[in-house]
């Protein structure tokens, strides 16, 4: 497959250059070529006008190119300083001497100070939040004195606050004269930080833009057609209460009360958006509802029937659709075919199977239909799900969960790491489920997503719902609520419509 087809890219010194494109457009391939992980079949790389042959990361680093991967390349049990010196260890007293950890710590501190990257050099990496781990990766590149830093989807794993911090770091690097290639498919961030934007689609450069281009312009350039950034939907017509949660408390892995007395209600035919910065108990809340995690206290009912304490299989069987937060861990089996993934939670029920045997013919026929209906871009329904792009993987999950009658749809981060075109599609399907009479609970750390999908918004902070407001509430107010600030001088807490 040709992943990059004659791409040209020029990065100026002291420039933040955004490389914008959907998943699978070839952004990462291009950067892997620059970083020496892949070799080009044609074309060349010029650094300061001189052609360079980059055969591996070592060449790239000595040529002044550093890269921060989407998934960090850190040793979890090492300290920050040890991780930073890894691969360029210095020893006191010759090559057989002691590792000079003190010097590594000093290097880290120095770089951290120079670019405003706060991090404790003695901290163990696995104890650090994701945003700080990313900072360690950046420091690692900076101590090797790179001039061009490639950031591969750096914000995909970050919370909104951490994203803001990262953008700040990028600005200070730029001020210090470093060039940055910023790979992303998030339009807001591009507009906020980039000096210049190159858009790639299907392995080709399809355009360049400056940040004053509108989001709609950029999105259509990226996808190749007009896209709707906001969901069009009729006003909700709420019916009976589908899900009622009362005083629910749930512990996380470490035994802390991650959910600490949550009350909420979802009615048929409405979307309740659960907004909140990641890590405020949303994950534990839905896992408890789905029977994946025991509850400490409280109750939850689905159409009046108790929900807690039931097996996941029974919860799903009672007409609950579940789009898990992390599709590659919890949502899909990559080595399974699309057809198999489409029946991952219905394989033992009619029409796909019985207690004993699968009905492969029916599974296959249904898969063909779903692939068509949900626009999963794949050569075949027999392809392994792992070969699909993120957006298409998510469509497989959406297709699976929305292909049976639903009373309740629980959608956690339904469009995380999904390209613009697929986001539009998934949002439409979520609204379609609502209009078909299901209650929908959407959990998202993307404020935009919550605002555009939800009819009511509940804001979760430190394990509690601190406010429930109508979707027409201002972004600023919801943003403040997500940060735990409930007092606003102007109005009282809203509660529903």
């Amino acid at each position: 497959m040709v992943a990059n087809d004659h791409i040209d890219l020029t990065v100026e010194p002291g420039e933040i250059h955004a490389l914008l494109g959907e998943n699978g457009a070839g952004k990462s391939t291009l950067m892997n070529v620059l970083y020496g992980l892949l070799q080009p079949d044609e074309g060349e790389i010029l650094i300061n006008d001189e052609p360079h042959h980059i055969k591996g990361p070592r060449d790239a680093i000595s040529a002044g190119i550093g890269m921060v991967h989407q998934h960090f390349m850190l040793v979890p049990v090492f300290t920050v300083a040890e991780n930073v010196m890894l691969g360029a260890e210095r020893a006191r007293g010759g090559p057989l001497g002691m590792l000079d950890r003190a010097r590594a710590r000093r290097d880290v501190r120095e770089v951290a100070e120079r670019y405003g990257l706060q991090v404790n050099p003695a901290a163990i990496v696995e104890d650090l939040p994701v945003g700080v781990q990313q900072r360690v990766e950046i420091i690692k590149a900076l101590t090797r004195e790179v001039e061009l830093l490639i950031l591969d989807e750096p914000t995909a794993v970050l919370t909104p606050n951490e994203t803001a911090d990262l953008l700040e770091v990028m600005r200070s690097l730029k001020a210090a004269g470093k060039s940055i290639v910023f790979i992303t498919h998030k339009l807001k961030e591009v507009k906020a930080i980039a000096d210049r934007i190159t858009v790639v689609r299907r392995g080709r450069t399809v355009g360049t833009a400056t940040p004053d281009a509108s989001e709609a312009e950029l999105a259509s350039l990226m996808v190749g057609r007009q896209v709707m950034l906001r969901v069009e939907k009729a006003p909700a017509q709420p019916g009976d209460v589908v899900l009622a949660v009362d005083g629910l408390a749930v512990a996380d892995e470490r035994g802390h009360r991650a959910v600490d007395g949550v009350d909420l209600e979802v009615r048929a035919g409405e979307v309740l958006g659960l907004a909140g910065v990641q890590g405020n108990g949303q994950t534990e809340l839905i896992e408890a509802l789905m029977g994946l995690r025991p509850a400490l206290a409280g109750s939850a009912t689905l159409k009046g029937e108790p929900l807690l304490g039931r097996r996941t299989k029974d919860v799903l069987g009672a007409g609950v659709g579940y789009i898990p937060e992390d599709r590659s861990v919890d949502g899909l089996i990559k080595e399974f075919t699309i057809a198999e993934n489409l029946v991952l939670d219905t394989y033992d029920r009619e029409p796909f199977g019985s207690k004993l045997a699968l009905r492969l013919d029916r599974i296959e026929a249904a898969a063909k239909e779903r692939v068509e209906e949900f626009d999963v871009r794949t050569p075949s329904h027999e392809a392994n799900v792992g070969t699909l792009s993120g957006g298409n993987q998510q469509k497989v999950i959406v297709a699976r969960e929305m292909s049976r009658p639903l009373n309740l749809l629980v959608a956690a981060q339904p469009t995380r790491g999904v390209d613009v075109g697929s986001i539009e599609f998934i949002h439409k399907r979520v609204i379609a489920a609502r209009d078909a009479g299901a209650g929908v609970l959407v959990i998202s750390s993307e404020l935009d997503e919550v605002i555009s999908l939800a009819d009511r918004i509940a804001v979760m902070y430190r394990g509690r719902i601190i406010a429930t407001v109508p979707a027409t509430e201002s972004r600023e107010r919801i943003g403040l609520l997500m940060a735990g600030i409930t007092e606003t001088p102007t109005e009282t807490e809203g509660s529903g419509q």
């Binding site: 892997n32 989807e153 996941t312 019985s354």
Partner: protein, 447 residues
Amino acid sequence: MILGQEPEGSASSPDKAPVSTGQVASETAATALRTPDPDEVGGPPAGNRFIAALWSANTVTVTVLSLFLAMVIGGVLICLSDPTVTAAYGYFFAAPGDAIAASWTAVSEAYANLFKGAIVDPAAVTGWLDGENTIWLALYPLSETLTYTAPLVFTGLAVALAFRGGLFNIGAQGQAIIGAAVAGLVGFGLHLPPVVHLVFTLVAGAIGGAAYGFVPGFLKARTGAHEVITTIMLNYIALYFLSWLIVQDGVQDPNRTDAISKPVDENALLPKLAGGDLRVHLGILLGVAAVVGVGWLLNRSTFGFELRAVGLNPDAARTAGMSVAATYTGTMVIAGALAGLGGTTVLLGTAGALTGSVVGNIGFDGITVALLGRGKPWGVLLAALLFGALRAGGNRMQSFSGIPVDLVDVLTALIVLFIAAPALVRSVFRLRAGRTGRLETTVAKGW
């Protein structure tokens, strides 16, 4: 502002700004490059991922070439162990032809005997055609091969099935021992009519193995105890339990002083498939039936779907409502039953009575068979046939060429070694890495 926009399908650049200093320009056209999956995270546990990668990297070509390489190295070892050959090398520079001829003779004779012992001896065939001996003598090598193959099919399946379920069943040996022991007790303890007794004994062997497989499965499901550790320990327990069992009153053969049990009733023995004292017995057909059964179980049954799902991604399986604990336990019970049947096959097919080493090494060989068979039922059958053939041929090689039968173990080990290092085989034969099956050294993406 959109600075430039390309019509679909154009390949030229919109932005040919003059090149200034301090810039990085890259003009690339990369074909056949695999884009690393942007969200490649999670997935099966590391050990299983290694085995999965191993299977995808070992194409049939690589497997065949591994066999070939192992034979080549085996040939070198044959030369080294043959005094005539080493003597000829002593005056290599005086008469190099001698050394080469001696090597050729030693190696070709050894492998010819391996072949004659495993598949067919042309002399016996001509003898049969000339009426000098019966057809049974001509079929003797095949009979031996199938006799050795039968139990390996079962233990290979026991390990392969567990692999697919995400479990590394080192305990096939122990499960086979317990299966054989229970089958033995039923085999000489009860006296039932023909067929009934055989069925009873086979079922008893399967139940014995299943119970012994249940233990590590249950421990894993309930407490998270790692099955590799528990099954290794259970192997020892099984081994010493059997040694103890066969010297107990009522078990030990009263007519013998050595450690051997009473012989199994005639009615419980697996019937022979051929005349002329050939050893091949019903076990091989049962093995083929087990292959078909496991194939169905894995690919067409509801439980098999759960088993594979749990094996590949337990988190996703749990989220989809499957019970990971029940699947682990069920997988080990079935694997144990298969291994138990393997032990029973040896007892009822060839041994006839329990001894301390009645099942030999079939449990450990089963691991090799499962690896070579890439975890697939039919692959296991083929791998078991290969190992059975090596065993059968090794016996003849020992008696006719004087090559110790241990060479077969060396060959086996070499084959597995090469299969575990597909990259090595590829580089020896300068093969291109397969498109899908590339076992990379975990890519050094870092610094």
